[in-house]
């Protein structure tokens, strides 16, 4: 993993790292502007933008009317003009009014103008389940955006990566959908480099080296996957766990290299199974490394149902037990 870092660090949660990443990039570049619902005076409903309004003022941290399509569409105009807007959508489940703006315009402004206009914008949104939230607050629909050419899609799983990937996304010349795993916004702390810190887009991270089976995951599913991997390790199975970090473009090299070593694979995601990224990763392995394959590839995912209200949420989300069970299916084949 190549990173560009200062030596000082701070012990931060993931949501604090979002804030620190925004603050650092806003200090570095006056063109970076944060806008969205409740991001300024309230500091964001998860406090991801806390203090930025006080520090940078209302020209750079903007409370908008309640209008997702308007927020993203306005950001596209600002980006085309030359600014670097970072719009926040309060929950991923509320991003759909902005879908048209993201896929019909942000994703293809460069193509349609042959590079005359571009869209260096980062749409931030908390995603995913597990916090007993009301309906529509637990969506994990990253595949919608991965499917759209012209967009990049990033999901961090650690505080240091959050800051580094967010910085890279903001500096990237193309639009990025940056999805934040709210389940682990405050789950743990990590040393995060102070000041300038980037983690390159498009590079996966090997979280646990192993030789028996490659397990691909991202975001909030990384921790239960690592927990399952350790349980299996105690039982003599040695999984490799790969945190993809960037879902578009995928790090095909790391994905394939691991599989060539293990010959077995599982994908863990909380999004529904059908049309989810598990299928894409499986296809990459079939295309690139078919002759290494020793077992069917297992998809350990959310079910093909709307995310249930929270009384049944624990059955919907892949748990360490379910992940362990799925990996065993692959290993025992």
């Amino acid at each position: 993993m190549s990173t560009d870092t200062d030596t000082d660090t701070q012990n931060l949660t993931l949501v604090q790292a979002v804030r620190d990443g925004l603050r650092t990039e806003m200090e570095r570049d006056d063109d970076v502007i944060v806008l969205g619902e409740d991001v300024a005076k309230n500091g964001g409903v998860f406090r991801a933008t806390e203090g930025l309004y006080e520090e940078f003022g209302d020209d750079r941290v903007i409370d908008t009317p309640l209008a997702e399509s308007g927020i993203v569409g306005t950001s596209i105009g600002m980006a085309a003009y030359g600014l670097r807007p970072v719009p926040e959508i309060q929950f991923m489940g509320f991003i759909y009014p902005a879908f048209d703006q993201i896929v019909s315009h942000a994703a293809r402004l460069r193509t349609r103008t042959r590079g005359r206009f571009t869209c260096p914008m980062v749409v931030r949104a908390p995603y995913g389940g597990g916090i007993r939230a009301p309906e529509h607050h637990s969506e994990s629909k990253e595949a919608f955006f991965v499917h759209e050419p012209g967009l990049k899609v990033v999901i961090p799983s650690t505080p240091a990566d959050t800051k580094g990937l967010l910085a890279s996304a903001i500096r990237d010349p193309d639009p990025v959908v940056f999805l934040e795993p709210k389940l682990i916004y405050r789950a743990f702390r990590e040393e995060v480099p102070t000041g300038d810190h980037t983690v390159p887009l498009g590079e996966a991270a090997v979280r646990r080296e192993g030789s028996d089976v490659s397990v691909y995951t991202w975001g909030a599913m990384t921790r239960p996957t690592l927990e399952a991997a350790e349980t299996l390790a105690d039982a003599g199975v040695d999984p490799e766990v790969i945190d993809l970090r960037t879902l578009s473009p995928l790090d095909r090299e790391t994905i394939v290299d691991s599989f060539e070593k293990t010959g077995r694979a599982a994908v863990v995601h909380e999004a529904p199974k059908t049309g989810g990224l598990g299928g894409e990763i499986t296809a990459i392995l079939q295309e690139e490394a078919l002759l290494y394959q020793e077992a069917p590839i297992e998809r350990i995912t959310g079910f093909d149902t709307p995310v249930p209200l929270y009384a049944l949420e624990d059955y919907y989300l892949p748990s360490p037990t379910r992940i362990e069970d799925g990996i065993r299916e692959v290993v025992d084949f």
Binding site: G43, V45, P65, H136, Y310, A311, D325
Partner: protein
């Protein structure tokens, strides 16, 4: 009733002043209806207090309180007939209860049970949690009623923030073009989470937006139950029995959210307590109580009896909700389609195998 509509958008309809003094013509309601109105207000307030406490005690998930907004919800819903439709937002607990949802079903929804609120014959759509999406649905319900030759009216409930969404514009525009029997009731409570009404739109009123769609727009004191009832009733009658005026109406019911946006919100970060206190002086419940005491409808004994009966009703609803077993995980796979797909059958069977193999405790985190 035409004077309800022949007025400027900022000429707010009011019948009771903040202290409960009569300042307009009261609606022609029999005493039992007025008492029912009062009891529903008290019920809504008490339900809300208990619901907030259930959340604080960990017995319920995130909950959006309605305190301060009872009059607009209760009085408007009482002006509807059972054949009429409501398309609510997520804060409309009192309106949907008046229109037929049980309190325990409302609680079950916020307790995370999938079936919450849908075990009913009432003409109430599921609460719209995204903002403003129910407004075009209301237009559609009303258009269907019109095309079917029925006289049912459809009413959307939404907040001030919703007027900034595209769906507000599209829904009202289509309603105007097709002259449908719809009422669009905007519960303007002053705040969309932390964003005040003034930052939501540069328009001086929300009622005034109706002009852009060629429909009627009226502003009413939404904390005055008699005024809200009067305006809503006029709008419903106009929708049901078309005359010279457009059938759709946009009502801006001006009110205030006493509490937080939801139990996950801290309003002290963005608004002053003095503002909250000023609005508490317009509390709809003592206002109506004073009026009903003066007309002889209420006395101390009756007020006490109402208080006791709403306490009992809410306690029973909570008990029923809490005694409802956690839904079977199979319920997740039901009702995705009329007939589950082969893949859904396979996934349900897979979850069964996992539960058999590992036990339910391996899945549940709390």
């Amino acid at each position: 009733m035409t004077d309800v509509f022949d007025r400027d958008p900022d000429d707010r309809v009011r019948i009771l002043d903040a202290s409960g003094e009569l300042v307009g013509d009261p609606p022609n309601l029999p005493d039992d209806e007025l008492l029912a109105l009062y009891r529903h207000l008290r019920l809504a307030r008490h339900f809300d207090e208990r619901a907030v406490n259930l959340q604080r005690q960990g017995r319920m998930g995130t909950y959006p309180p309605l305190a301060g907004q009872e009059a607009a919800q209760v009085a408007s819903a009482m002006a509807l007939q059972p054949r009429d439709w409501i398309a609510p937002s997520y804060r409309e607990h009192a309106a949907v209860h008046v229109h037929g949802l049980s309190l325990s079903d409302i609680l079950l929804y916020w307790m995370g049970h999938g079936a919450g609120g849908w075990d009913t014959d009432a003409n109430v759509l599921p609460a719209a949690v995204p903002i403003a999406t129910q407004i075009p649905h209301t237009t559609g319900l009303a258009l269907a009623s019109k095309l079917s030759g029925d006289d049912a009216v459809a009413c959307a409930y939404f907040g001030d923030g919703a007027t900034s969404e595209g769906d507000f514009h599209e829904g009202l525009n289509i309603a105007g073009v097709f002259d449908v029997p719809a009422v669009f009731l905007c519960n303007n409570n002053g705040w969309a989470i932390s964003v005040p009404r003034e930052r939501q739109t540069a328009s001086p009123t929300l009622a005034g937006k109706a002009a852009a769609y060629g429909i009627d727009g009226v502003q009413v004191d939404g904390m005055d139950p008699l005024a809200t009832y009067t305006v809503m009733r006029a709008a419903v009658e106009k929708a049901r029995a078309p005359g010279d005026r457009p059938r759709p109406t946009l009502i801006e019911a001006v009110q205030y959210r006493f509490g937080a946006h939801t139990t996950a919100d801290d309003p002290t970060v963005y608004r002053d307590e003095a503002e909250v206190e000023a609005w508490r002086d317009r509390d709809p419940i003592p206002r109506l109580e004073r009026y009903l005491r003066e007309t002889g409808c209420l006395d101390d004994d009756r007020v006490d009896a109402v208080a006791a009966s709403v306490r009992e009703q809410v306690s029973e609803a909570i008990e029923r909700a809490e005694n409802t077993a956690r839904p079977d995980p199979d319920a997740m796979f039901d009702d995705v389609y009329a007939e589950p797909t082969p893949e859904l059958h396979a996934q349900r069977a897979h979850l069964h195998r996992l539960r058999d193999r590992h036990g339910d405790d391996a899945f549940l985190r709390d």
